[in-house]
Symmetry: C2
Subunit: 144 residues, 2 copies
Amino acid sequence: MNIGQASAASGVSAKMIRYYESIALLPAAGRRDSGYRDYATEDVHRLAFVRRARDLGFSIPQIRSLLALWSDTGRSNADVRAIAREHLAEMEEQARKLQEMIGTLKALVGSCETGRRSACPIIDELGDHRPAPATPAKPRRRAA
Amino acid sequence: MNIGQASAASGVSAKMIRYYESIALLPAAGRRDSGYRDYATEDVHRLAFVRRARDLGFSIPQIRSLLALWSDTGRSNADVRAIAREHLAEMEEQARKLQEMIGTLKALVGSCETGRRSACPIIDELGDHRPAPATPAKPRRRAA
DNA sequence: GTAATCCTTCCCATGATGGGAGGGTCAAGC
DNA sequence: GCTTGACCCTCCCATCATGGGAAGGATTAC
């Protein structure tokens, strides 16, 4: 199977397949006499595995570990869970930050809507040096 | 004020200040005879504005629009709200996807924990076609 | 036998940020 | 004066995962 077919069958672009090979996330594919890469069904499975892990937000290093566990029949579930939990924690932290930003922005949009003054809190708040009269104390961590 | 002081006062790294100038997000700073950039208080305000907008996840193009509105005293709140709402929608969509991934992964981790068999759903699910407990094949062409 | 499609490698770009090299400038101390 | 160390300048490179595209060879369909 050519790279094009493998791509269509796995949902990973040919570009990415070559890239994954170049960073040794995947074993180098076999080559035909022509130089064309040649893929078997199991290669497509591996590619699909990578794509689904990427869809779940796993990073390449994490997928590297997952792949090793995947082909290791003697692996322990604990190892797999550890990677998944680590990634889960990262995602939850990311979600928390995102919700915080959403909350802040929502409040600003809300004030701007209901405000009758010409000053828009979104702008004022961002400008900082002239904070709105009723500043709803917000978390200003992330010091530089 | 030198770039270092402006950086400390605004919380934007000197590297970033130069970058923002290079992409014309900020007007080119004045220069001294020495070639050093020179910043005034209002420049620092603008920098702080950018930093806060970045903290809220606004993209550079969005900040570009916000900056224009900021310095436009005749702006309409509706314009500002439109940008904020657009960004809000993006963030909410992002949060939705993230929550979906978290949910899926949580379910997988949960099954893996309670499962007594050696097969871990995290792995199986990713593998899709289930790598089959008796398919040791493959790393054949490995290090080719 | 020819044209269309596929494959190859290599280079470039993204977005926002940091690192670092090589070299000029400033301010303080002696 | 002169030295020293901190600061600044411009470039170039790297990230991370991905895509675009060019130049050229291979395969395939008609």
